[in-house]
């Protein structure tokens, strides 16, 4: 039975944390752990969620959770899973889950993640993507989108924020032939919850990439987090999709699936203009962002449908 607001566990496994008001990442963790239940074992590298969840002597996790070295999220997940199994202490409903930010996944932890997928270890890796290193005060990561102002990609008279494009991590992960990978957004939380539930019940390595806006770093109101995460999907700048590897789909080379294919996109310009980080973008820049979106969607609609 699908998990929804009515039947989801009343238990809170990520509670009393010290994240900013309106933090998107904390919502992703809270929702995922409610699906995975008390026997989930979580591992988090350096990043916002480990900084706000483990405040000695406080602990905001109700399930087992630990901090990993920055680059080693996936390796630690592998170790936890193997260790629990070797000791005969792994309950049937135990999901070994990692929560890493965009920097901890796409930059620093990419090699370990790739290794875990290659070994097909039975772990779930969730990347909460707030599009920069927010914990250390907003530095660019390889998942920072074009035009976003960070402290390392400042916007001024000579430059207008991040010059590079967001790395396509979902397809990089899928290219490993991983059993299951998905993209999600906290703006479509039911879709995210469904994907976590789906991933929970698949064996082998699973990866979920969830957009989790950061009001502090994005320059939006603290009450807008969920709304803006919905907006990014509605504009087509992010997409809800799944990849099922050969083991799961039975299709050689695996299969991509587009979960949401809007007939009409919401305004990219309005999405960019409501955030302080895109303040310096010119109209031409915004048009270029829109053109990039159209090209991406043309390819996705061609290859990922049916």
């Amino acid at each position: 039975m699908a998990v929804n607001a009515k039947n989801i566990s009343d238990d809170e496994f990520f509670f009393g944390h010290k994240a900013c008001a309106g933090c998107g990442g904390s919502l992703a963790l809270r929702a995922a752990l409610k699906v995975l239940g008390p026997n989930a074992v979580a591992a988090l590298p350096a990043g916002c969620m480990s900084a706000v969840g483990f405040n000695f002597p406080q602990l905001a996790f109700a399930n087992n959770a630990m901090i990993t070295p920055f680059a080693a999220t996936a390796s630690v997940l592998t170790g936890i899973e193997a260790g629990l199994r070797a000791q005969g202490k792994k309950p049937d409903d135990c999901t070994v889950v990692g929560f890493a930010g965009d920097g901890g996944t796409a930059d620093i932890g990419l090699q370990a993640l790739s290794g875990a997928i290659d070994r097909n270890d039975d772990v779930l890796y969730i990347c909460y993507d707030n599009e920069a290193y927010m914990n250390t005060g907003i530095q660019k990561s390889s998942l920072t989108p074009f035009g976003a102002k960070t402290t390392t990609t400042p916007a001024g008279s000579n430059t207008r924020g991040c010059l590079t494009q967001k790395k396509n991590l979902f397809e990089i992960v899928a290219a490993h032939g991983i059993p299951y990978a998905a993209t999600a957004s906290i703006g479509y939380l039911n879709d995210f919850i469904r994907k976590v539930e789906r991933a929970r019940d698949i064996r082998g390595t699973r990866y979920i990439h969830v957009i989790a806006p950061c009001p502090t770093g994005w320059g939006c109101g603290v009450d807008e987090t969920v709304d803006i995460a919905k907006d990014i999907v509605d504009t087509g700048l992010w997409y809800l999709a799944e990849y099922e590897g050969e083991q799961v789909s039975g299709v050689p080379g695996g299969r991509f699936k587009l979960n949401r294919d809007p007939k009409e996109f919401a305004s990219v310009d309005a999405y960019l203009r409501r955030q302080g980080r895109f303040k310096a973008l010119t109209d031409e820049d915004a048009a270029a962002v829109e053109a990039g979106r159209d090209a991406k969607w043309e390819a996705m609609r061609r290859d990922w449908r049916g």
């Binding site: 607001a5 496994f13 509670f15 944390h17 933090c23 000695f56 002597p57 406080q58 996790f61 009450d223």
Partner: protein, 364 residues
């Protein structure tokens, strides 16, 4: 040595102000100052402190200020019980507030109003530099202005110089003594010690009466428990074999807006429950006759307003904390659901209130 203790919330610029004050106080030869902040891994909105020490000799002592000559509150919700314990004899409190206080040691200043008038948004920190220039002999307004020119980006100079001038005038020409209405400090919220969450739940169930509105209680759920307000070092983790989900302490001091649920229009769609980043909205097992099917745990709500925005029926409104505190426990217009949303201390029947105070005393 003149010591200034700054209380603010992450993002309000308390440390910037502490630093600028130190800069102003050390411009002249032979004058020295030290400024530093104190905060944990907490984030925007969390209460933080900053310190400025000003002296005629180099300041080597980097420890936090326990008793200060001036204590500045950038947010009046942070001014709570025990405020006078932080003052040296003859010390003064400066608070960003539109209220008046019946204690001559407290100077209230509408810093949000002053800064909004100049900047277009309330950034209260530099207001208090002007105020301190008026009150403290150690720093002159010229020094403060020079510090702003030297340490702030050029584009901020003009407006912040205007702010400090206005603030200084506001302090110099402040009304002699507090006119009505007077705010008694006993009414100021935010007790520093908190009774155990478990005790509170027990208390409310034990003496729940049909006539009095009682606090909706969380169902028996597995969540990290608030074991104690002041963490006992005996309970700290001493090894890696430590019970998960052991301790959290409340975050309620972060909030200056409070979500209030209107039971009449709430449909129980649970979007607020689902989307709360902090898990503070909970389902009420058996709601009272006119109660909403969900309630908010104000001990942990940070007041982000995601729930209010997510509510398609407009059943959740954000009201300022000051307003919520100012309302009497059983405001006739607010009926059951209004009473429900108040702070637990004010919401409980009288006998229970006493009980709670006792347990609070025990906790201390």
């Amino acid at each position: 040595m003149i010591e200034v203790l700054w209380h603010g919330r992450g993002g309000q610029g308390a440390f910037t102000a502490a630093r600028l004050l130190g800069a102003a106080a050390s411009l002249a030869d032979g004058r020295h100052a030290l400024a530093f902040p104190a905060f944990g891994p907490e984030r925007r909105g969390a209460p933080i402190r900053a310190f400025t020490k000003m002296a005629d000799e180099p300041v080597g002592n980097r420890s936090a200020i326990a008793k200060a000559d001036y204590v500045v509150y950038l947010d009046d919700t942070l001014l709570g019980e025990g405020w006078d314990g932080e003052l040296k004899p003859g010390g003064m409190v400066l608070v960003n507030s539109t209220r008046t206080f019946d204690d001559e040691r407290i100077v209230a200043l509408d810093a949000d109003g002053i800064s909004s008038a100049v900047l277009g948004r309330p950034i209260p920190n530099t207001v208090f530099l002007g105020a301190l220039a008026a009150l403290c002999d150690r720093v002159s307004i010229e020094d403060v202005e020079e510090a702003i020119r030297q340490y702030m980006p050029a584009k901020l100079h003009e407006k912040n110089l205007a702010i400090v001038r206005k603030a200084m005038e506001a302090v110099v020409h402040r009304p002699e003594q507090a006119p009505l209405p007077t705010c008694h400090l006993e009414q100021v919220p935010l007790p520093i010690c908190h009774p155990e969450r478990a005790q509170r739940v027990e208390g409310s169930s034990a003496s729940a009466t049909e006539s009095a509105p009682t606090e909706p209680r969380r169902p028996e759920a597995h969540i990290p428990m608030l074991r104690t307000g002041a963490l006992d070092p005996e309970k700290f983790a001493r090894s890696t074999c430590f019970e998960a989900g052991y301790l959290t302490v409340k975050n309620a001091g972060w909030r200056n807006m409070r979500p209030v649920i209107d039971a009449a229009s709430c449909t129980g769609c649970l979007q607020c429950y689902l989307l709360c980043p902090d898990g503070t909205v909970f389902k009420v097992g058996e709601p009272a006759a006119e109660g909403a099917p969900v309630a908010i745990d104000y001990d942990f709500c940070k007041g982000c307003g995601v729930c209010a925005k997510a509510c398609r029926f407009g059943s959740i409104t954000m009201i300022p904390e000051s307003e919520a505190d100012a309302q009497p426990p059983c405001h006739p217009e607010r009926s059951t659901e209004g009473a429900k949303s108040k702070d637990p201390a004010r919401r409980q029947p009288a006998d229970q209130g006493t009980q709670r105070q006792e347990s609070e005393a025990d906790a201390r």
